[in-house]
Symmetry: C2
Subunit: 300 residues, 2 copies
């Protein structure tokens, strides 16, 4: 089981070379992240985009282009479709976003003809290494689904559980985070949490333990849960923290990065292959971690 | 201006002795917190509750009862009303909850005849000292208002602004936290954030700068805001972080305490005097900080 982001990178390296399909690759930040992954021995890449621009940026940043295959495609929508097709045809393992709107690449991923559609819901999964904790946490969904309903939450959990499985955690504990521990009809998140735990017990959500409603302290700390008198044996043992809405997830995510000194990775899951969307705000290390996480998921 | 929880305690001490009215005081944890505040020179207290039980607990924990006035009252509802009346009559400065449901004490606080009603909305304000930051943050509302509408948010902001003023921050920056920086009609929090900033510009919310929508990183870090190309001159300068719903606030609060090593205080504001509701899950230091914050607010 993967317990740190370093061990994640090491495990990916040990699986042998993988391939990224980078859509609209003419961007310095993206090319530097891809080349970082190559230098670490994580993966090589097929770069789809404007070849002249890609070569110019590579030269400016001393990125050796002889390590890469380039597919010249100036149309950005078409570049996305080509990247997705490469993954569908088994020529690459992971789709990575270059300098293109997220919506465009996801449209290609979801395309019925050439796409990688699998789960009815695509979702964002963030992997966090928090100082002081001896295990990693998956947080979902901090970036994509705004206010998922109960059915969407089931898919979001299933998507995250597959990520946990890919990291060697065969029965992750998925905690549905709320502000309180008791079901309160005035708090929709608590009703959903109880329904999701029930759906898990009924076999509708498999390969994991779903619990909640629990507040964050009682989700991650057995001591806090004991102090509060919570009897759920999985309280305090969360591996996956499912947030009820995007604001909760986003503030949680940012508080970990900017206030708790946490390290992280993030990918879009729910399609047949993961999609890496690094952002300019990500550190170089986060970009590398995100690529590593996507490659780990792709190898399941 | 108060920049740390230690300087908050020092400032309260410097204001001279204040008085807590403790409702239903027959509880060891509560009495120990009150006596901690007395030892630090922050305040003394009038203890309202079952006198025999209070004296027994005090003896067991070596709390010197000659420092306290006790009002014997075995009826818990009546004990709450007495505590509130003591504050209304100027005999005490702050109401503190003992071993009684929060709803009971807040009912007394809101009582039209004997209560302390002021703002139409009571709200919870948490004060945080986060390692690595040179200023304190107020977070509201992480514990009381579940899903406040626009009008309620205006009151929540006004309540928090008074707290900031009491700590010497004359024009706090109030950032309405969202998952993104742009108004998105699919995200109600962004619409409210823009409306709140506009209400501030129109003079409807005074004594502060309200901005948003902003994600947490761009609310607290000028570097992150600059990197993202945000032009709002107050981005990165938030003093008050207003969350859109209780789940966001609660997860944020708990992440700071349990994952970022932050120290904190919390009170209920919006009445003529603050109400201290320490919880069993609070550390001794947090309980003291909460008492100190309430006393600081009471002295404004």
């Amino acid at each position: 089981m993967i317990h740190s982001l370093e061990s994640l990178r090491t495990a990916v390296k040990g699986q042998g070379p993988k391939k990224l399909a980078v859509a609209v690759a003419q961007d310095a930040e993206v090319l530097l992240a891809v080349d970082g992954a190559r230098k670490l021995g994580l993966a090589t890449a097929i770069l789809i985009g404007d070849e002249a621009l890609i070569r110019q940026i590579a030269q400016e940043h001393e990125i050796p282009m002889d390590c890469y295959e380039i597919i010249h495609e100036t149309d950005k929508v078409q570049a996305c479709r080509t990247a997705v097709k490469l993954v569908r045809d088994g020529r690459a393992d992971v789709v990575m976003k270059g300098i293109i709107d997220t919506s465009v690449i996801l449209k290609a991923v979801l395309d019925k003809e050439i796409g990688l559609r699998e789960s009815p819901v695509l979702s964002h999964v963030a992997l966090f290494e928090v100082p002081g904790f001896d295990r990693l946490f998956l947080i979902t969904d901090a970036a994509m689904n705004i206010a998922p309903d109960l059915e969407a939450k089931k898919h979001i959990i299933r998507n995250a559980v597959k990520v946990a499985h890919s990291m060697g955690n065969e029965t992750p504990v998925v905690t549905c985070l709320c502000a309180v521990e008791k079901v309160n009809p005035k708090m929709a998140a608590t009703l959903d949490a109880a329904a999701l735990a029930e759906a898990n017990r009924a076999g509708e959500i498999q390969g994991c333990i779903v619990n909640g409603p629990l507040a964050l302290d009682n989700a991650i700390s057995t001591e806090a849960a004991k102090h509060k008198g919570i009897t759920d044996p999985y309280a305090g043992h969360a591996d996956v923290l499912m947030v009820p809405n995007i604001e909760t997830g986003n503030v949680f995510y940012k508080s970990l990065v900017f206030m708790a000194g946490a390290k992280n990775a993030g990918v879009i899951v729910g399609a047949k292959a993961p999609v890496v969307l690094t952002s300019r705000a990500d550190s170089d290390e986060t970009k590398l971690n995100s690529i590593a996480l996507a490659l780990m998921i792709a190898s399941r």
